[in-house]
Symmetry: D2
Subunit: 368 residues, 4 copies
């Protein structure tokens, strides 16, 4: 169903940018997972706009968990997490219903919902909702970490500027999670300068995010349509602005031969490994014990201050548009924790499918 | 659920490469869709191996529909389509259980299923099952065509050799569907030569398939996790060897600015259009009335005759592997009709979600 | 999934009796349904405890819709409805974790959730959550009514006291919805006296609710496992205390012969009808155009003031229990609007499966 | 989805009475369950018509498993089971399309599917499909039995003739499964005489089936809409002719007071038990460790030889009907193994939801 992912543990997203509250509802989370409030706050903080390269709309992101948690642990009942929308400025969006912003969902939502959708700030299609994805993701990320599974993401490239690739090591994960989400901080400075330049021009930039997951046991992922690739891809395309996803060598496979692309099996200290990881830790949709590695393409934020061409849907005539409102010249750095959170939701469900839901509950000694 | 796609109309895949029969079960197809046997046969023919660039295992692909069709029309009851496995040679696969082929699902299936999986010919993970996807896809493709929706695919590139891109026009669709699936037939000849060369070396090649869909009405696709991109991505990664998917400009967005990337709205003959189609016909996960355009990356067939390194899982020691059996040096040309068929299954479900299942039933005058 | 019903339109219930808020999340409701605040309030009022035959815990039931509604109409995005828990008195439930109330979910929740569940007031298993079912049900009931479909329920019997049966007529529906939910108000007086008597004894009573639905078009309901009977039964057993359901003659069929039980077809004013309605408007799981008629059995409220036998789970020894807290000597009259609401949710989904989601949107002239 | 039950393990039914084959597809069954061919045959044998009280259409029920089983064990891939329709006599059904049999699905299927449904022998609505339910159920019953869970059913009553109730003991289960499915064989003789009498009159009889499940661990079943009652009810109403279901005291609760109805907790040899079992082993939708006890109402077979009133749908006029074809004067004894099988499918999914799919795989020492 549309706003939901997950089979054994499902997560449903709801809310509109300028409505009262946005939120996410988890159904099927096992009882006994400690809720890591610090990580929720940290991840929301990483997603929050800041400085010259973000929108001026800053939200406190004061989430509330109204069900499914008791004395700091999940109860096994549905967990509903809410985030109020406080800093809304709906005036900015008046008139946009009939004057769709290019490459936004304004026009398609108008067609689909016959004029009933909440058009303010992108309504249900707003990137604002990713705050709820991030907060719910953090709850699950913490549970995965207690089982030895860590998810990290960094900006792989913006324009022509490239970060180094994930190995991935714990050090790289730590670097990517401190400050601007890159491993090579000097590349990060160049990216920020490039973003600020675009902002100054009233323009926006796209880029590529690379993710890695360490510690995934082999054998997770269901065949054909619920493999790790299927489930991550389905969920990732939910994040606004994602327009591509690739695993391991991805589109680069197109230029390889089998003898170059195949990952030879070997054993290290009794553990089965592969000598290369062109398959990004996944064979036949199922984890093979190597780190997962995948990348998503982020299109430039469609909201730009530059003058644009569009239609007036009432007159049917072209009418130029100068977008008002508060926008991000780049959202890629803010999308980084979102992609981590969404990955956590997907992997938790696949782990539950393979081992049962209660596998996600840390043993007493695994908790901190 | 694992082997199933679709919400209002679901499709479940089953079977093993060397089992009695493979098949697909559709649940939720409306009554009254004429079953186009010619198209099923044509699409199975396009998928069938042929000549120097394919495996020597040639199957008759004699499908049977054992339920859900009466007097040539769907009945509204579940449609079960079966294809017998006739030309199996299980001897070739003896010993492979403990000797996993690199980049295949042998090892991950072994871990996941604890040695109970049918390892012969890749078992349930075999590309053989795409025959059932193709046949079921053809039933739905025919229904979509009666509603003015056409799906086409071609090989976009193999190695460094590129076909021209889809506009897409009806002529391009026709070219791509005749013979070797390219628009520029001279590029096709180069591709075949490149494939034959790899075959001669005991190697295999990867490539990229481009798809386009014309005639999709605006407003189809559900928000966040059941949009056109989510649903197509989830399904496409089911096709063995797919390792990436991108829509419109896809990964190319990473180097664009918003002012370059945004698709300006305009109107032609009273119809809303965009001047460019960088978004591949999709905004916010929902069709905008422009053609859908997307590409999938196909990794080189992992089964190669060349000598490879792998493990013996019983001894835990490295042991080289010389794959026997019958293999494809390239499967990309055979994957083309599969990607069309899978696209049809996905789009039919999204159309049914938007307009109701019976929208898919052609009016009397739409039938031929 | 556990807390969810519905395929094309899904409804997920969440919350705990003594948590911050309870609520329900609808996904798949079409855009353009007017939200009938009056009916929500009316139905919540009918469910609210009152007088000698109800608990002393009275809630204001001040619901909030935080998403999915804009300017009084559904937007097509998920609709999240919340009801705060204001009048909670958790002290009353201290110690109940290890001292399970007979015939409650205390013990089973303890086993299932390993002591992590919120035990206060029954937690997630509390009848309190039916307020959210009722409110969401009212939104859908109003939409159904605009399409000519009306759902009514009354107390069919309590102890030996019987109300008359539904025909059903509009008059009977109106009677059942005014005041105490019976058609024969003198039977209602006897029921109330019987309930008050049980209350005085510190005891509780069970009973049977009969429902009817008029105006359902023929052809609704999916074969085998998503027929009208399957879907209503699954949902109805969600209402706490429901222990049986029967359609038409139901268990009475056991004593009938085919020649007595079969409903002969006839035609009235060009409409196909049946002369009797022993099948309760359903053949093969599909509506036949006659009114739906079904009954649910409601067990006596398990919370009674009378002294009861139970265990102390820590000592493993029997230990008597005198329940404190505020309880209902009878919940059957309060359950009546809940059964109506749940029926509405189920039928809306089946109608959407048959005709598409947008069928539920009233035409301009159907609105009032 | 319509023809499917189950969340973690799903089962989809397909086929038509006079089509080529009927079958069932399981998705999510874990690898390593031994397939008990003897039990499949035994259960199909119990379902097969025999003697004076059954239809003259006798099928060999030669099932084939075409996928998901290798060397006698499930592989973890989807299991497709097929049963050919051999003894079909479609001539008998000519003309029935426009002349609907009372209380059958003929008319509703006609309305729903607009004349495209396969009307021969009831098509997709035929009791014939329960053979597939029974065979798939047997595979799962055998797995449950290896885990100590046994499911039994018997005819509780036919007309006024009653069998004794389940305690349930192993002896009662054994008696119910030998020959005519009753515990008290003398009551069985009376039932058979009553059925034969109805047959002689060209009439049919209804009745009530009682089921019991021993060995279910406490804590199984999900809250609100996927509890044991919800899931069993939904599935049981799929069996043609089922018109009611009740758990424990069921409709009898309507005349009880809380002090009579509540099941007091106690402990025997360190195990939590209840002194009575009015709740049929279920509190709050979750198993409490006591035997499950439930009953389903079976309406008289609608196909009777007696003259009946119905319509001619083409003329819109009443036209009497004398049903030809081969019919059962009673199906209740044949429905007994079907209800067992369906119960097994439902419980297996709920056990998998609680403990993970692999819980269903017997340990080596549990196999026989």
């Amino acid at each position: 169903m549309s706003n939901r992912i997950g089979t054994c543990i499902s997560f449903t997203l709801f809310g509109e940018s300028h409505g009262a509250e946005i939120g996410m509802l988890a159904d099927g989370l096992p009882a006994g997972i400690p809720v890591d409030e610090e990580l929720i706050k940290k991840q929301l903080g990483r997603r929050r706009p800041c400085g010259a390269i973000s929108t001026a709309r800053v939200e406190a992101d004061e989430y509330r968990i109204v069900s499914g948690v008791f004395n700091g642990y999940t109860t096994g009942a549905p967990l509903c997490l809410l985030i109020p929308n406080s800093n809304t400025n709906s005036k900015d969006y008046e008139g946009l219903t009939y004057h769709p912003r290019p490459s936004h969902a304004d026009y398609t939502a108008f067609v689909k919902y016959g004029g009933y959708s909440d058009y303010r700030g992108g309504g249900h299609f707003s990137g604002r909702l990713t705050a709820a994805l991030t907060a719910m993701g953090a709850i699950v990320q913490s549970a995965l970490k207690a089982k030895g599974i860590e998810i990290g993401a960094h900006i792989s490239s913006v324009g022509q500027i490239k970060d180094k690739s994930f190995s991935p090591t714990a050090e790289e994960f730590a670097l990517a999670k401190e400050g601007f989400p890159v491993i090579d901080k000097s590349a990060g400075e160049k990216m920020k300068a490039y973003m600020a330049e675009a902002a100054a021009e009233g323009d926006s930039v796209g880029g590529i995010i690379e993710l890695a997951v360490s510690g995934m046991p082999a054998g997770v992922g269901e065949p054909w349509f619920d493999g790790v690739e299927n489930a991550l891809a389905r969920a990732m395309f939910g994040i606004p602005a994602v327009k591509g996803i690739e695993f391991g060598a991805g589109f680069g496979f197109g230029e390889l031969k089998g003898s170059e692309a195949n990952d030879a099996f070997t054993a290290k200290q009794g553990r089965v490994m592969t000598k290369t990881n062109n398959n990004g830790g996944i064979n036949g949709g199922i984890t093979n014990g190597m780190p997962l590695v995948y990348r998503v393409a982020i299109k430039p934020t469609p909201s730009i201050y530059k003058h644009q061409e569009t239609l007036n849907l009432r007159t049917g005539k072209e009418e130029p548009l100068q977008i008002q409102g508060r926008h991000d010249p780049a959202i890629i750095h803010r999308a980084v924790p979102v992609t981590e959170g969404v990955s956590a939701l997907v992997l938790a469900d696949l782990l539950a499918q393979q081992y049962g839901r209660s596998w996600l509950v840390p043993d007493k000694e695994e908790r901190k």
